[in-house]
Amino acid sequence: MNYLVNIFEFLGISSALFLLGLYGIFVLRKNLILVLVSIELILLAVNVNFIVFSVYLDDLMGQLFALYILTVAAAESAIGLAIIVIYYRLYGVIDINTINFLKS
């Protein structure tokens, strides 16, 4: 395992990606698609994390999970995009600041 002594760099990258995704969810209020992209970014960070640990611990389970997450992320983004499209068709807008129908 000598070639992977510097795991913290990888983990730092994945954490940075994760926080960037969170930041995107919080701060981006223009476009629902950007939120979706941020969620994809978070999932990507998680994936990277899984793979890094899988290699680091020499365990195949992490890569298995990474594959699953890839699938789930694809399905999720497909459904999310579908919702956004339907929403846009109904209301003609995907500006987050105006979307508050969750309340009732």
Binding site: L22, I25, F26, R29, V35, I96, N97, T98, I99, N100, F101, L102, K103, S104
Partner: protein
Amino acid sequence: MYTLIIFLPLIAFFIVGFFGRYLGRIGSSIITTGSVTLSAIFSIIAFYNVAICKSTQLVSLLTWFAIYPLNIKWGFFFDTVTVTMLIVVTFISALVHLYSIEYMKNDPHLPRFMAYLSLFTFFMLMLVTGENMAIMFLGWEGVGLASYLLINFWHTRLQANKSAIKAIIVNRIGDFGLGLGMLAIFHIFHTLDFLTIFALTPSVVDAKLTFLNFEINSLDLISIFLFIGAVGKSAQLGLHTWLPDAMEGPTPVSALIHAATMVTAGIFVLVRCSPIIEYAKDALTIICIMGGLTAFFAATVGMLQNDMKRVIAYSTCSQLGYMAFACGMSAYSVSMFHLMNHAFFKALLFLGAGSVIHAMSDEQDMRRMGGLVRLLPLTYSVIFIGSLSLMGFPFLTGFYSKDLILEIASSYYTIEGRFVYWLGTISAFFTAFYSMRLLYLSFIARPNSSKIILEEVHEAPLFMAISLLILSIGSIFVGYVFKDAFVGLGTDFWNNSIYMQPHSIKTFDSEFIPANVKMIPVYFSLTGAFLSFVFYNFYPSILLNWNLTPFGIATYRFLNKRWYFDIIYNNYIVQHILKFGYKVTFKILDRGFIEYIGPYGLVNIIKTISIKMSTIQSGYIYHYAFIMVFSSVIIMFFIIYDLMNFKSGNGFIYDDFIIAALFLIFFSFSDYSLLAKRVASKK
């Protein structure tokens, strides 16, 4: 027969109270008066049996309640003190009944009135004959109740309502004292039977009781409590304010309450409990001083009252002061003697005043009377007899007891003895002064009422005249006839019903004080009466001029307004208690504090919090996202923090953090969401 004495008035009350409207005024008068008269006749027989033939009676009827140490029986106990009171109560009551038939002739509620009178008599009889303190207390409270009903007899009058409420509430203060006394007695003696208590008293002389964190000699404490009861009922200084106001009732009621029954109950309790009080030196001193002050206070106040009945009411108060300080000097027999004599002449005075008021078309103000001596010769003579008797004119009833009290005071060689001796003597002066003033203003002065009223003046009708005559005979002769029996030298009349310690018997000393000292009260009385007559008859200008000086006005106000007692009580006690009741117990506690932590406040808090919490759900996606992330961060923080503290063995801060977090969630989030709403509405 002994039971009948007590229960005949009760039977009459029930019959007349329930069926008065069917019996009519004649029927109800006959039933009540007849039963009380029968009771009076039986009391004479009882007096003969018990007091003269010396056979004390104990009538035990039923068990009221029995809880192991406390065993209360319906028992009635007839010793000499009791039968003396019986004679007084039933006699005066029977005469008052007779008098009321005529006096209340035109009142539409005569049956009710007679029923109340009988009820009053019954409770009074129960009070004096009770074998234990519970029965006595029943009578005590019953007398208060009956006095309420009687003072409030004309219940459509506001003033009568107020007076009756005042009477029963001020009495209730004293009743509370008596109740505490009963509790203390039960605590010490484990019984309420008089005979047991009195037999056990010498064995608890040194017992202590803790009251309000003070260690007090138990007998002193008990005696002071009993005296507080007597203060309320017998209108001693401090709780006397109800008595003059009780004049709002019909005059026979005043005669019954003030002459024979209610006000004597307090003195009766002191005399009855003489075996206890006798061992309480400090309490005796207090009783003595309070009695002397009452006598003095009431005598000075009575001097400048203008209402005829109020003058007599204050003289009652004053004479009760005499009785109380006689008790305080351990001269219980003399006190009892004065009680009996006072009952006769005070009933006479009240009924005579009633006759005047009846004749004058219900005018009570003495300043609007005058010149009645020719119109009401009988009433004048009986009031004259009563007044002479009251001021202790030699060889009338009052002389034998009142001067004896002062003689005993003069031979009571302590500070309080001197104190009450001089107060009593000066009060005798004032007593004579106001008695003469009453006589002069209402009978001898020039007429001050209107011609219409004077044309209507009529002498007392037959029944009223009969009771007045009997009472005036009593006022002349009772003192002389019973002197040797009651307070004669070495009399065994009391027959152990009164206990005096040997060292406090002053009967012998008082007989051998110098003659000029003995004469001082008589001189004072005669001077008072003489001065009063001379001033009012020959030199009214002196009185007028004196009354116009600033000092004169101040004095007149001070005395006429009863030493400002009522004003002080109303302004500094009653008002504050009422304010406390409204502002503190009602507004702050009842409708304030308890409401806030109870239904109202709890509902409000939950309502506001739930509204705030629901505003967290603003509907905006990024709010939900923020809450999600923020909460997960917080939870993570807690878990990490808890793990850290768990390791160091210090896990309590966790709770504080949870409380802080809840606080933040409740209050900050809602504000945040409100802010967000404002932002949203701006857009």
